[in-house]
């Protein structure tokens, strides 16, 4: 069923059940998003995507609110811009954004100045957790978007190795009593790594190459193939740099995988090379 809404004074058609964000994007408009992922249930926690909806006292997250007939939405008011800008500045002032291009781009687009809170503004202070052969966790980069928790839980993996613990500024992604991953419930599917928007979760190979200054996307190409391990037929994207596979992903819009893989498809590629990079 098609319903009529109004965005920034412009009449739009939207489908019933659509979110405001989906309606915006279909009409060629947009809102900045960080915690939104097309294959995960919206948690609407980052608040970068807020818009004004007539009749709502507070701003409304466009990624989760569904359109209603006659809804009047504004994406371009001073209130919206101010809230988005400050939210992005607050985030960027609290974590290491060096491997979070999306966040950095949004901050720039809103002319944000994260430094204005002062050089002594408290930041998320966490050591690198490098405790297994497949991926590292660098929570000093974590924006608490909940995507990894959702991917590990009911939205994909049903393993529930990850949860949020603590509260306020001390809230963190946790394996339970901060157990090393090998002692947690993790089965190393890497689905959390695939959805992480900040590089807080990163394959070990990529992490090592970045440390050595060898990671260079401009020298990478993607080869599409099908996972050789089993009969499911998951689509793989092999990221190849200097004729070596350096990372494996799956397309988020692929019917079989929706971007998710198992440990073999995601990490079981080093046999291809005679001398796999050592740990």
């Amino acid at each position: 069923m098609s319903i009529g809404i109004e965005v920034d004074g412009r009449a739009l058609e939207a489908d019933e059940g659509m979110t405001i964000l989906q309606a915006l994007r279909r009409a060629g408009m947009d809102a900045p998003t960080l915690c939104y992922h097309p294959n995960l249930t919206p948690v609407n926690v980052c608040r970068a995507c807020v818009v004004e909806v007539e009749g709502s006292r507070a701003l409304v997250p466009s990624c989760s609110r569904r359109v209603e007939p006659g809804m009047r939405i504004r994406t371009d008011t001073g209130r919206v811009r101010r809230a988005r800008k400050v939210v992005l500045e607050l985030l960027a002032s609290s974590v290491d954004t060096s491997t979070a291009p999306e966040l950095a781009a949004h901050v720039a687009a809103y002319q944000g100045d994260p430094a204005r809170f002062g050089s002594d503004a408290v930041r998320v202070d966490e050591p690198l957790r490098d405790d297994n052969d497949l991926y590292v966790r660098d929570y000093a980069k974590c924006i608490l978007c909940y995507k990894c928790v959702e991917a590990c839980g009911e939205d994909a993996q049903y393993t529930f190795a990850l949860a949020v613990a603590g509260r306020g500024f001390a809230a963190r992604i946790e394996t339970g009593a901060d157990a090393p991953l090998l002692e947690s419930r993790c089965v190393f599917c890497g689905n959390c790594v695939a959805v992480c928007p900040t590089g807080a979760l990163m394959p070990l190979i990529e992490h090592r190459m970045r440390q050595a200054g060898e990671w260079d996307p401009s020298r990478q190409h993607v080869a599409e193939t099908i996972c050789p391990y089993c009969g499911v037929g998951c689509a793989l994207e092999l990221h190849v740099q200097d004729n070596r596979i350096v990372k494996v992903t799956s397309p988020a819009d692929h019917d079989v995988t929706r971007g998710h893989l198992c440990v073999k498809g995601r990490f079981g590629f080093t046999y291809v090379h005679p001398d796999p990079p050592s740990r």
Partner: protein, 428 residues
């Protein structure tokens, strides 16, 4: 305006552990009328009474009851007795001194909206309140007022007491549900609202203790009798928790419309004959009112117009010797500690706000600080998920408009005064 004893009629008078004592002072009259006249009458009286929720959001009680009554399937009733707002102790007094009133009101609620399960979520520290409520529930069950055939209606209604574990956020209704369900105490996404999908996913009526305690009064006196006190839009009486620098801190019941000055007079005025500096009205989630506001009628509408709020009913009085910015610092720390951490504006905003208020309170203010507070406050107020973040800047921003009275020379808040002079404007 005089103090009245309507909600507090039995407090300190009747034995709170005796059903007979409760009955002898008009207890259970309202339930009897409700069962005689039926749910439709209860709903229309409640709507006509104009009773607004006392838990902070001022939502019309009748409309909420009707929404749950009209919802399908299994329904629930929850009494929000988490009372964790700083300076607030009205629900505690009601539960400790008049527990049967809470039980009677919930029974009326259950039978009216068609729920069989009632739950009282009591702040963890309130041991005596929980004990008294359990005793009252036991006695009501033995008297047939609760149970498989509640009050002879042929319908079941039971009440469980659930004790919280010490998180302010679990007083937010949807975080409260998560807490009861054994999940992380985080507010849920709204919509759906509790009346649509609440505790365990069932349509749920959530009301504050004081809201519920007004219901038997409405049904006994009728909507028009109830409206004898209060204003057109703020009907009935209100419990105010007056604390701080007054001669007689305590709980005061007055009609809505009583002015701030009259309330302070009831409490004996500012102690030791000192001058009033400010009042923090509504709790930490409220706002500061200056001494020029003594004529303000305490109603939902007047407080809203004045940029304030009834909030939790806390009125914290500061005399001229208090360091305003030390108080503001405690408020800022409270929100930084109690934020659940789910959404960015509140999780990081309360942290940054604390850092900046810390500078103001210790005379290390930077020129950009008022602007930063205004920007952070706007983002928290506008873009946070729940009422915690949405109100976390209210007290801080209102303090910026006041003149701190402690002379700069012996104030730790010198920077604060400097900061207060700059007027934060719109940025972007």
């Amino acid at each position: 305006m005089p103090e009245i004893r309507r909600l507090l009629a039995r407090a300190g008078v009747a034995d709170p552990e005796s059903l007979e004592a409760y009955r002898s002072l008009r207890g259970y009259e309202a339930l009897t009328r409700a069962t005689e006249r039926g749910p439709a009458w209860v709903l229309s009286e409640l709507e006509a009474s104009g009773l607004l929720g006392r838990g902070g959001a001022a939502f019309p009680a009748g409309r909420k009851w009707r929404a749950v009554a009209e919802a399908g399937g299994r329904r629930r009733v929850v009494c929000n007795a988490d009372e964790s707002e700083p300076g607030t102790f009205k629900d505690r007094v009601l539960m400790e001194e008049d527990p049967f009133a809470v039980v009677e009101a919930m029974t009326i609620a259950g039978l009216t909206v068609g729920a069989e399960d009632g739950l009282i979520y009591v702040r963890g520290e309130y041991r005596l309140a929980a004990t008294r409520l359990r005793q009252a529930i036991d006695q009501a069950e033995r008297a047939g007022l609760l149970g498989a055939d509640a009050a002879g209606t042929g319908r079941a209604f039971r009440i469980r007491v659930f004790r919280g574990a010490g998180a302010y956020i679990c007083g937010e209704e949807t975080a409260l549900f998560n807490s009861v369900e054994g999940r992380r105490g985080e507010p849920r996404n709204k919509p759906p609202f509790p009346t649509q999908a609440g505790l365990f996913g069932d349509p749920t009526l959530v009301n504050n203790v004081e809201t519920l305690c007004n219901v038997p009064v409405v049904l006994r006196e009728g909507a028009s009798g109830f409206r004898r006190y209060g204003t057109e839009r703020s009907t009935g009486t209100k419990l105010w928790c007056v604390s701080g620098h007054v001669e007689r801190p305590g709980l005061y019941e007055v009609p809505f419309g009583t002015t701030l000055g009259e309330l302070l007079e009831l409490a004996g005025g500012v102690w030791r004959g000192r001058r009033l500096q400010a009042v923090l009205c509504g709790g930490a989630a409220g706002t500061f009112l200056g001494p020029d506001r003594l004529d303000l009628p305490l109603t939902f509408e007047d407080l809203r117009t004045a940029g304030g709020t009834v909030g939790s009913g806390a009125v914290i009085v500061l005399d001229e010797t208090a360091s305003l910015w030390d108080v503001v610092l405690r408020v800022a720390r409270f929100f930084q500690e109690e934020s659940c951490g789910q959404c960015v504006p509140c999780r990081v905003g309360t942290q940054r706000q604390l850092e900046i208020v810390g500078r103001l309170a210790s005379g290390r203010a930077r020129p950009e600080d008022p602007q930063l507070l205004a920007d952070i406050g706007a983002a928290m107020t506008d873009a946070s998920i729940c009422g915690l973040g949405q109100t976390a800047a209210g007290a801080v921003l209102s303090a910026l408009t006041l003149q701190p009275l402690v002379p700069p020379s012996n104030s730790r808040g010198k920077g604060a005064q400097r900061a207060a002079r700059g007027r934060p404007g719109e940025s972007v």
